[in-house]
Amino acid sequence: MSILEVKDLKKVYTSRFGTQKVEALRCVNFSVERGEYVAVMGESGSGKTTLLNLLAALDKPTAGQVLLDGVDTGTLPEKNIASFRRDQLGFVFQEFNLLDSFTLEDNIYLPLVLANMSHAEMERRLKPLAEELGIADLLKKYPYEVSGGQKQRAAAARALITEPKLLLADEPTGALDSRATDELLSLFAEVNRKGQTIVMVTHSVKAASHATRVLFIRDGEVYHQLYRGNDSNEQLYQKISDTLTVLTTGGEIK
């Protein structure tokens, strides 16, 4: 069964005085199976971020539905949305979004503390996760003391520690150098292998080439998709590049 179903999703932004309407998403349909690693690609302005905000229930759709594990996030009352987001979803952002007033450890604990978990249980969860992400020695440090890659791994730990049904990543490699990008991508692949469902929004071909499926968005619609099948990362990379070339030169996909 699909863990995420997006049906006829539409989002229209209205300028402040209602004079101008911008259609960010026209009609988006797709679903994500449990254990899948889906990359959503598109150029700036294609509606990627809008889509992610709707998936995260940070924004309400104009029309259509987002079903996470069968629950329509658009109908959740405001007071339940935050806890829903906290318990079901994990987030990794381009800008890390770590709180500078917390140590990495406390940043990772944040969602658990909000969920009123006991400290012993938090520690029990953090230990293996920190080992896996290679940040066990950095836990007592503050964000300003560590590198971008380390920050992003801490952010990933924060997203994963709630054992979310779905990990949402928004351009996670956008602020990283190539080595840190490689590390993070192999980390995501590893997490995915262990069963974590991931939806990642990106315009980096390299990032997308680690996914099991790639969705292309253009002008507010899902325009095309690629399955990895038995391709290696390199082969998928090539296919993505080709698709993008066709997309940007305006041709039709064969």
Binding site: E78, A82, D100
Partner: protein
């Protein structure tokens, strides 16, 4: 030039959220400065009974405002410049050199200075009449309704505030010169180190505060209070800064160590961001706390002085009128001389006198230790200049009266053998069973008295006073005055007649004072060998005018300075809210993404903001409580010793201040929430 002018005006307009309150505060300070300066030279004030004294008090107040304005405007100016560094950095990168930027700053300062000083002086002229009427009414003087403009004060305002703005300009220019464009551009976003808990400083704060509090509650006499007051004030100021800067962070760190407390949804975010917040705001909050304490202590003490004036007057002049004759020797205190004084007085008062008390006495002071009074010790440690609390606590004023006068004053009989005495002591009862003046006979205390045989003036009870009733008064007084020639002035023998009056107005009172002292002088002139040296007359009514002038102007000054201090505290709060808002918005956006509800975010903000803003108020309240014994003793120096009035005025002050504070907090909190939530939508 027009281009720079436009940039300068635009810069101020764009930053009006910062500039508007700054300009208002500047105007307010100039206005208050002008008002106080013009009042100190106002003919209406100088025409008051104690106009000269009032004028000096007002001049002192003017100086205080000048100095405070300099300090405070320097603080706010540095805040403004820091906020605008980004803008200047941008200009710099766009191709302006530092000279160009300096011109903009120069123009901005010039505009600010001209505008605020002019507006301040105009408002000052407008409101100075109001202030004058208020002051005159408070001291009960006559008022007129002429509006006066004081050119001297206008000039003074322009010179003083011109100089202040000039200094601010130099500081701002130096700041721009010393920085490079990149750091200007980034100065707001520089990564921040986590606050370190300096336990040592925190501990020092606690210890110093504890010590100051201990001084305050353990103080015994008003004079030792005066001696320790300034030390205690400095200690409290230092401790407040230490506690807010280091203590608060240390407290947060200790809370963070307690895992079960810290890792709770309601404490987690608050405690950790509080540590950062306190690091940035500790100094500002400590300043607010100290300003608040100053306002509270100032208003409650000057208010108590003013409203306790009646009381103070009665304390200093316990009888409506007193005539005192200074005698050449104890032997001259004959009943014939006493009778002469009585008839001079009764001749003038013509039956309007009541409660007449006539007696002879010797008054001296010394250090009392184990029942022995050391006059020399006190001579060396003059109690007005010495500040050793150990010595000050031992000083006793001793008033020696005869058994015969005692029996006549009280109507009671007492059997005293030679060298036996009765003792009354102000404050605690006399604790020893003998009283010996060093170098004189030893005296046995037969009994202590619950009430003094005559009403005692508070002037005598600033240090603890003893009234000693002794049978062979003449011998002992002679013995005392023979003790030390240098102390003759202190152990003068006096005859006194004190009485109340009925149906006497101020004019009649003044006539009586003059008539009695004239009649006394006449007697001395007619018979130089009668034993009288001179006559001094005092009255309750004649003191009253002086007192109301003095305490009225103290209270007035207290109110004026409080307004300034409150305005300053308010501006600090406002700027805090602004800068907090800007810094918090990104933080709360993250928390929302991580799964915090709006309600949770709002309640965390509330907890933090409430703690931050009410901590100074609470500590100020605590300071006020501990200052209470100090203030109570200090105002006793001014003759007011009414605890109820002081408690009432302290509580009233605190409540009024708290109310103002809460209102202001609510106003600024809205600005803060707007900034935070505006960024969430963006």
């Amino acid at each position: 030039m027009r281009f720079y002018l436009r940039l300068a005006l635009d810069g101020m307009k764009k930053n009006r959220q910062l500039y508007r309150p700054y300009l208002l505060t500047c105007i307010g300070m100039v206005m208050m400065f002008y008002i106080l300066a013009s009042l100190s030279f106002s003919p209406a004030i100088l025409g008051m009974r104690s106009g000269d004294t009032v004028s000096i008090i007002l001049v002192l107040g003017t100086i205080v405002i000048g100095i405070f304005s300099l300090l405070f405007l320097a603080y706010t100016n540095s805040f403004l410049i820091r906020r605008r560094n980004r803008e200047f950095g941008l200009y710099n990168i766009l191709g302006m050199n530092k000279g160009n930027i300096s011109i903009i700053i120069l123009l901005e300062t010039l505009i600010t200075a001209l505008f605020t000083i002019t507006a301040g002086v105009l408002l000052g002229i407008l409101f100075s009449k109001l202030a004058e009427l208020f002051l005159l009414r408070m001291s009960g003087a006559d008022v007129d309704f002429l509006i006066r403009i004081s050119p001297v004060s206008i000039l003074a305002s322009f010179i003083v505030f011109g100089a202040i703005f000039f200094l601010l300009l130099i500081v701002s220019l130096a700041r721009v010169r010393l920085s490079n464009p990149l750091s200007l551009l980034k100065s707001e976003a520089a990564g921040e180190k986590p606050p370190k808990a300096n336990l040592l400083l925190a501990l020092a704060g606690v210890v110093i505060l504890g010590l100051a509090y201990y001084f305050a509650v353990s103080i015994e006499t008003p004079l030792s209070a005066l001696a320790l007051f300034f030390a205690a004030v400095i200690m409290v100021i230092v401790a407040t800064y230490l506690l807010f800067i280091a203590g608060s962070v240390a407290l947060c760190r200790i809370l963070q160590k307690n895992k079960n407390y810290y890792y709770k949804a309601s404490h987690f975010v608050s405690v950790s961001s509080m540590a950062f917040r306190m690091k940035r705001n500790g100094a500002g909050l400590a300043s607010i706390c100290i300003l608040a304490t100053m306002v509270l202590v100032m208003i409650s003490s000057t208010g108590c002085l003013y409203f306790g004036s009646e009381d103070a007057l009665r304390g200093m002049q316990p009888y409506d009128m007193t005539a005192t004759v200074f005698m050449d020797s104890a032997a001259s205190c004959t009943s014939e001389n006493a009778e002469a004084l009585r008839s001079i007085v009764l001749n003038e008062t013509k039956g309007k006198e009541k409660n007449v008390a006539a007696y002879s006495f010797v008054e001296t002071y010394g250090l009392l230790e184990n029942g022995e009074l050391d006059l020399d010790g006190a001579k060396e440690a003059s109690y007005l200049t010495n500040s050793d609390p150990n010595i000050l606590g031992k000083i006793r004023t001793v008033i020696l009266i005869s058994l015969a006068d005692y029996e006549q004053l009280t109507g009671k009989r007492a059997d005293l053998a030679d060298d036996e005495i009765l003792v009354w002591s102000s404050g605690k009862p006399y604790p020893f069973d003998k009283l010996t003046v060093k170098g004189c006979r030893e005296l046995e205390v037969k009994d202590t008295l619950a009430d003094p045989p005559v009403r005692v003036s508070t002037e005598d009870t600033i240090v603890t006073a003893l009234i000693v009733v002794i049978p062979n008064w003449y011998d002992y007084a002679a013995e005392l005055s023979g003790l030390d020639d240098e102390r003759r002035d202190l152990s003068f023998v006096r005859q006194r007649i004190a009485f109340d009056l009925s149906d006497v107005d101020a004019a009649e009172d003044e006539r009586l004072l003059d008539a009695i002292s004239d009649a006394g002088d006449e007697r001395i002139g007619a018979d130089p060998d009668c034993g009288w040296l001179y006559v001094r007359t005092e009255s309750y009514l004649s003191y009253k005018g002086f007192y109301y002038d003095l305490n009225g102007s103290f209270f007035f000054l207290g109110i004026v300075l409080s307004i300034i201090f409150i305005a300053a505290a308010a501006l600090i709060i406002y700027y805090k809210q602004l800068s907090e808002g800007y810094e918090d918005h990104s933080r709360f956006a993250i928390m929302q993404k991580v799964g915090m509800t709006h309600a949770e975010i709002k309640s965390t903000i509330n907890t933090q903001v409430l703690t931050v803003f009410f901590a100074p108020l609470l500590l100020a309240g605590l300071h006020l409580c501990f200052a209470f014994p100090f203030v109570e003793k200090l105002i006793r120096l001014f003759g007011v010793s009414n605890r109820a009035v002081l408690i009432l005025s302290s509580v009233a002050c605190f409540l009024t201040f708290a109310l103002l504070y809460i209102l202001f907090y609510r106003g600024t909190a809205r600005t803060y929430f707007n900034i935070v939530s505006a960024s969430e939508n963006a």
